[in-house]
Symmetry: C2
Subunit: 234 residues, 2 copies
DNA sequence: TCAAAAGTGTTGTCCTTACACCCATGT
DNA sequence: ACATGGGTGTAAGGACAACACTTTTGA
């Protein structure tokens, strides 16, 4: 076979927006860019798509290189193609966002890239259009989490209802009624109450829950209405 | 400035999934592919992204070339990047879907590409991964139309409630109660009743409505719950 | 014993659903 | 006059929001 002669070929990269929840607030994992231009400035982790490599594989490779994690939630966010987005040479970027359990990460942190977690309310200046990528990712996460049980991807295997609630409250910048909140999340049938309690953050202790993974998979695409109190949204 | 040497550059294309509603059912506009491989087979309209051209501009250019229409609803669907998706040479495709008023189109149809409308239930064999693109577009349309008043983009300026209802019924393959349906869509405040009636499709005639464009824009991103009767979904 | 967070139930309101009849008109 | 599709109201049930007190236990 011949090729499509006369057409211009373009560099294709993937960039990863990596969310992690530390129990208090949502964070993003950023690195110091390792090559010119803008070498040393804060950046999303990314890499060029290799010959024979799909976008998904490229994004997973990049994520694994930085976090050591495989098998995490990852979703294509958007393809950014502005001709001027990289001043060195036109590069299109397929942005992916992933949700990881920040505690899993800590065990395997890679210092090679000078990676750091930044609270999403305090993101530093970033290279190219990476801030726009992050804004879009935040928006999509809010959108999706309102309808699907996606935020469980950010939590460890065992978590408490107050932890879950503070995660939702952080994402929607809202205060929610804990009675209504627990009734609603429990009514989904997705949670399995454990016998033990988390005793660090309160004297009485809060019961742990685990996600029912089978129900999670089957119900994921149902619209579940996960925002208990939209009137409190700021 | 230098370039990123040593990295592989890839062909980048846009493909357009063009939806049109003819009053009866949803259709897609397909063309006969004009170049090898698979020349002459049914295909989505597409084209290579040109130097200096953004994805949005590329998709709009392709859409305009085929339909003569500019200023129509268009949204990035997904970036398809499987290394094998085009057997001739690796080509990534940024797929866009658009919703057009099929009547606007008819006035300006271009025969150059042997374009034809196909009911979405009777899509022929297509080149490459174009069927997968269409399936994803249908899914996204159903998803989005449940929450946002997006389907108005498919209708002419003046339309009737029965027309609107049959559009929703077609998309969701469901039967809806016309009393509940009209109450719900009218309660959004998005529709302005006209004084004249559409008399073609019934003896009594049905009142025309127009979209309140200002409210449409302001309410577009609110979750409006546009599926009146989810229990009837098949 | 006190402070701090966890846990739990009830009521009113609103939204959603189910459902049936009359109207206008062309043939 | 009748057949066809357009248009409307009501009642019952379910979901959601508002709201306050008791429990546990570490300090």
């Amino acid at each position: 076979m011949t090729r499509y002669s006369k057409q211009t070929r373009i560099l294709v990269a993937v960039d990863c927006i990596i969310f992690g929840f530390d129990g208090q607030e949502m964070n993003l994992l950023l690195i110091k860019r390792g090559l010119e231009p803008e070498k040393g400035n804060w950046s999303l982790m990314g890499g060029f798509v290799q010959p024979g490599e799909s976008f998904e594989n490229g994004a997973a490779r990049v994520l694994k290189k930085l976090t050591g994690l495989g098998d995490v939630y990852m979703e294509q966010l958007f393809a950014f193609g502005d001709p001027q987005r990289d001043p060195m040479e036109r590069t299109v970027s397929i942005a992916y966002f992933s949700l990881i359990d920040i505690h899993q990460y800590e065990k395997q942190i890679s210092h090679d890239y000078h990676a750091e977690w930044f609270p999403i309310k305090k993101i530093p200046a970033l290279v190219f259009d990476h801030l726009a990528m992050i804004e879009l990712a935040k928006e999509k996460l809010r959108y999706k989490a309102a309808l699907h049980p996606i935020l469980f991807e950010l939590l460890p295997e065992k978590f408490t209802l107050p932890q879950l609630q503070s995660l939702y409250e952080g994402i929607y910048d809202a205060e929610m009624d804990k009675r209504n909140f627990s009734r609603k999340v429990l009514s989904t049938g997705l949670l399995i109450k454990q016998k033990d309690k988390e005793k660090e953050s309160s004297k009485r202790g809060a019961f742990y829950y685990k996600l029912d993974k089978r129900k999670y998979l089957t119900k994921f695409n149902a619209f579940l209405n996960f925002i208990p109190n939209p009137h409190n949204l700021k």
